[in-house]
């Protein structure tokens, strides 16, 4: 007596023509294996242990996938594995040709199991269909997640527009997942790594470097600079109608050190070049002798 295990994909069995298809497929199996006994189960029942498969029992295994076709990629599940006779070659039916596999037992034990989540079995939530990792049982290649072939993908992607008519929403024919689930079910997302920003130092602990050719002593006076900074910037009144310095005066002025002559020369350049304590911070760049008028650049209407 030949024992055949027939596995049925869960989505497939919900299709209207599923019954006819199963009868059809079973007759094919019977033709292949005269006098065989076929045990058919919906895949989820096996995964969820709703049915108990006898160990070391089946000579052949067939799987009808979501498209209602025989698929030679068998879902990876311990119950299924254990139910197969280990010493026999397994017929993974595909167009009548049999790819015989020896030492199935060993091969199967090398397979990695994907932890099957209870929730995955229900087709309700946002998880995509065929959640079970399918292992291609092939003597030569190591077991791994089998990629979809390109023609399947093309069928899926090619369907974005439906047919040529843009008017009717062909999209409505496709059932959508609940997108809020993607926020609630955020396990995958939390495992992903995310950019964290370095916040700028807002408490002014780090001082801007002294400008080139620093002569004001910033380099030496790092610590007391903060105090001078506050005092100096406050000493400039808010409304400055006119400021005019000739180059000699510029060279003489140095607010940071009492009585010291000679400036670093950066004060007249814009804010980009002024050091942190510069009393001219906030004013535009100017040339010696140039009148600085704040109103000159305003556009009050």
């Amino acid at each position: 007596m030949t024992n055949v295990l027939l596995l049925l994909n869960d989505t497939f069995v919900t299709l209207p023509n599923a019954e006819d298809c199963i009868i059809d497929k079973k007759s094919i199996i019977s033709n292949n294996h005269q006098g065989s006994k076929i045990d058919q189960y919906v895949l989820s029942n096996i995964i969820l242990n709703n049915v108990k498969l006898s160990n070391d029992y089946y000579d052949f295994i067939y799987f009808i996938d979501s498209n209602g076709e025989f698929n030679y990629t068998i879902p990876n599940n311990l119950n299924i594995k254990n139910s197969l006779k280990t010493s026999q070659s397994i017929n993974l039916n595909r167009n009548q040709s049999s790819s015989s596999i020896s030492k199935i037992g060993t091969k199967l034990s090398k397979l990695k199991f994907k932890k099957l989540n209870q929730k995955d079995k229900q087709q309700s939530s946002s998880n995509p269909t065929t959640p079970i990792s399918e292992i291609e049982i092939n003597p030569s290649s190591p077991p791994e997640l089998s990629p979809l072939d390109n023609s399947t993908k093309l069928k899926i992607f090619g369907n974005i527009n439906g047919s040529d008519n843009d008017n009717n929403d062909d999209d409505d024919d496709f059932e959508l997942i609940d997108e809020n689930e993607l926020i609630i079910d955020n396990k995958l997302l939390n495992e992903s790594s995310i950019i964290c920003l370095r916040e700028p130092n807002s408490n002014n602990k780090k001082r801007r470097k002294a400008c080139k050719d620093c002569t004001c002593g910033l380099a030496e006076l790092e610590s007391s600079f903060q105090i001078n900074n506050e005092q100096n910037s406050k000493s400039i009144p808010k409304s400055l109608p006119k400021i005019q310095f000739n180059s000699q005066e510029l060279n003489e002025i140095d607010f940071t050190i009492e009585g010291k002559t000679g400036g670093c020369g950066s004060c007249s350049l814009g804010d980009a070049f002024r050091c942190d304590g510069c009393p001219y911070l906030g004013l535009p760049a100017f040339k010696p002798g140039q009148v600085i008028s704040l109103d000159g650049i305003s556009d009050d209407l």
């Binding site: 993908k153 992607f157 999209d171 496709f174 955020n186 995310i194 920003l197 804010d271 906030g282 760049a285």
Partner: protein
């Protein structure tokens, strides 16, 4: 070896698109071939053969995808998509969002999660950029890009090809090339700025309107100038509460003159120009009378704060050693604070930066690469569409003016431009429908400090006049500073209250009455009753930042105290409300 990378963007106002363009430029230096497109125009079958996909997408509206990403997203949500659909794809995502919104970066979160579900592999750290952060979106972007390029080069090293990266110092040809039309005669454009601004090509959705009212509604001695602004359009479309109007501001003549002077463009300023490689769909179109001057006036955002990419291009045009070195410093990743302290914190404009770098000589053809295009500004409509023959629409606009470290006052481009508009002027505008559906017959709890009153006024007028709502359904918590100085639409609102059509709670913060959330808390019992037994909707509008967060916390506290919920439960309650469109936030 195929070095193709797809850079896909979902962009509502152009920011995500800009970043995508920046990424493309930077990736090209490493000899990658880039496929750049919006998510909706992207050919999905390409996902079969593409190995690398980078998605830059903002979150807009109420946690939604931008309009040029929705079709793509709808496809991605299909239940039947198998979980190994994208196993060949190495991807990462960059989200643009605003943390004062509860659904902060929800679009990119969902997208990233979905890609992972479909088997795609992460190639580099993802990012959820925050507009509210001190360094803005750009701060996140530079970190993201730096890491991404490092990871990409690890996967696809250049030395295998025997190639060197194109040096950053090398000047590549401009993406959008500005060309002077030498053949055509000059055209003066300064005396008819307003007319010129009206006529545009590539102008999908733009309409013309007459300014019928432009009146200050705050007291003259109040520090803030708020305008009641009304547009008249014979063929105005029907609008609903929550919809917005886009306005297209221009630069002031003074600023444009300064810009032309600094760059020494006087001799060619009035020559006609054209732009090569301009994208076909430009928000706001391009003015038809295009001279260099009018291009600068109506399209180049010289008052915007420069991004790092600006400095990266600018240093190539400087001739003074010191300036080159400083500009390069600003554009490098080494010290993000330098740039932040120089530009972002004081809100320094491109024009002001150029005024400090005297040695810079910018070739004209690079102007459009260097300076971003002016983006429209959106304002919530503050009138209800109540008459069948309605031809007007109101806006409530606060003129933006404030001080920073820079002595010259910061002024908003758009609101400064609005101040120049006189009644009977014609301008272009666009109506944006936001489809904020307020469920029929549910009471609405409106929280609106300051100009947040705009969409509330639209909602109140519409509800009272067109739907017969009354004070059992309309609750307004309105916060301002002084009863006499900035209680916008005072007469109107008090009248509605008197007629029992509106329940009004006011707070005048400078008169020791606290803020909107204080009134809210005071009326905890009412609020809870409305939420639990009347399915009330909460609608919060106003400035982004602290306000919406504070309001939310207040609601959480109210729920905790009145319903004895834990902190977690109260947060969950609000999240539920949001999911059912019962907590709506519009902040700016």
């Amino acid at each position: 070896m195929d070095r193709t990378i797809a850079v896909l963007y979902g962009s509502e106002t152009g920011n995500a698109h800009d970043l995508a363009e920046t990424l493309v430029s930077n990736l090209e230096r490493f000899h990658f071939n880039i496929l750049l497109s919006s998510l909706d125009t992207f050919e999905l079958p390409r996902l079969i053969d593409l190995k690398y996909v980078i998605i830059i997408c903002s979150t807009t509206g109420q946690g939604e995808f931008p309009s040029n990403a929705r079709k793509f997203w709808k496809f991605m949500l299909r239940k039947k998509l198998p979980n190994n659909l994208l196993t060949n794809v190495h991807f990462t995502t960059f989200g643009l969002g605003d943390s004062s919104y509860p659904k902060f970066n929800w679009a990119i979160k969902k997208l990233h999660n979905r890609f992972l579900q479909l088997g795609a592999k992460e190639l580099s750290k993802r990012a959820e950029a925050d507009e509210q952060s001190s360094q803005g979106i750009d701060g996140f972007y530079v970190e993201f890009e730096k890491l991404l390029i490092t990871n990409l080069l690890r996967l696809e090293p250049l030395d295998l090809l025997g190639l060197e990266p194109i040096s950053e110092d090398q000047l590549l040809p401009p993406k959008i090339k500005l060309v002077i039309n030498k053949l055509k005669p000059k055209k003066l454009t300064n005396d008819n700025l307003k007319t010129i601004s009206l006529n545009r090509t590539n102008n999908a959705g733009l309409k013309k309107a007459i300014v019928s009212i432009n009146r200050r509604i705050t007291a003259e001695d109040h520090f803030q100038d708020v305008r009641h602004f009304q547009l008249f359009d014979e063929d105005i479309e029907i609008y609903s509460p929550g919809d917005t109007i886009s306005l297209y501001p221009s630069n002031s003549v003074e600023n444009v003159n300064q810009f032309i002077e600094i760059l020494q463009l006087e001799s060619v300023a009035d020559k006609k120009v054209y732009l090569e490689n301009l994208p076909s769909l430009m928000e706001g179109g391009i003015i038809s009378t295009l001279t260099l001057r009018s291009l600068i006036t109506h399209h180049l955002d010289i008052s915007s704060i420069p991004r790092r990419s600006f400095f990266k291009l600018l240093y190539k045009f400087a001739t003074d050693e010191r300036e080159i070195s400083k500009l390069k410093e600003f554009s490098s990743f080494n010290d993000p604070e330098e740039l932040y302290n120089y530009c972002n914190r004081p809100r320094r404009s491109i024009l002001e930066v150029l005024q400090e770098f005297f040695s810079v000589k910018i070739p004209i053809e690079y102007l459009c690469d260097l300076i971003p295009f002016i983006k429209p500004r959106l304002f919530s409509i503050s009138s209800g569409f109540i008459k069948a023959q309605q031809k007007t629409v109101d806006l409530t606009i606060a003129v933006v003016e404030y001080q920073t470290k820079i002595k010259r006052t910061r002024k908003g481009l758009c609101t400064t431009w609005i101040k120049t508009l006189e009644e009977n002027d014609k301008i272009i505008y666009k109506l944006n429908k936001n489809n904020l559906n307020f469920r029929e017959n549910s009471p609405i709890i409106m929280i609106a400090p300051g100009t947040g009153i705009a969409p509330m006024r639209s909602l109140i007028q519409h509800s009272i006049e067109s739907k017969g709502y009354d004070k059992e359904k309309l609750y307004l918590f309105f916060g301002n500073r002084y009863f006499t100085k900035d209680f916008h639409y005072r007469e109107e609102l008090l009248k509605y209250e008197e007629q029992n059509k509106l329940t009004l709670f006011t707070n005048f913060s400078r008169e020791q009455q606290g803020y909107v959330q204080d009134s809210l808390y005071l009326h905890s019992k009412l609020v809870v009753k409305l939420l639990t037994s009347k399915n009330a909707i909460i609608f919060v509008c106003g400035s982004s930042g602290k306000m919406p967060t504070q309001v939310r916390i207040t609601f959480e506290t109210i729920l905790q105290e009145e319903l004895e919920l834990s902190v977690e439960e109260s947060k969950k309650y609000l999240l539920e409300l949001e999911t059912h469109n019962r907590y709506i936030q519009e902040t700016w």
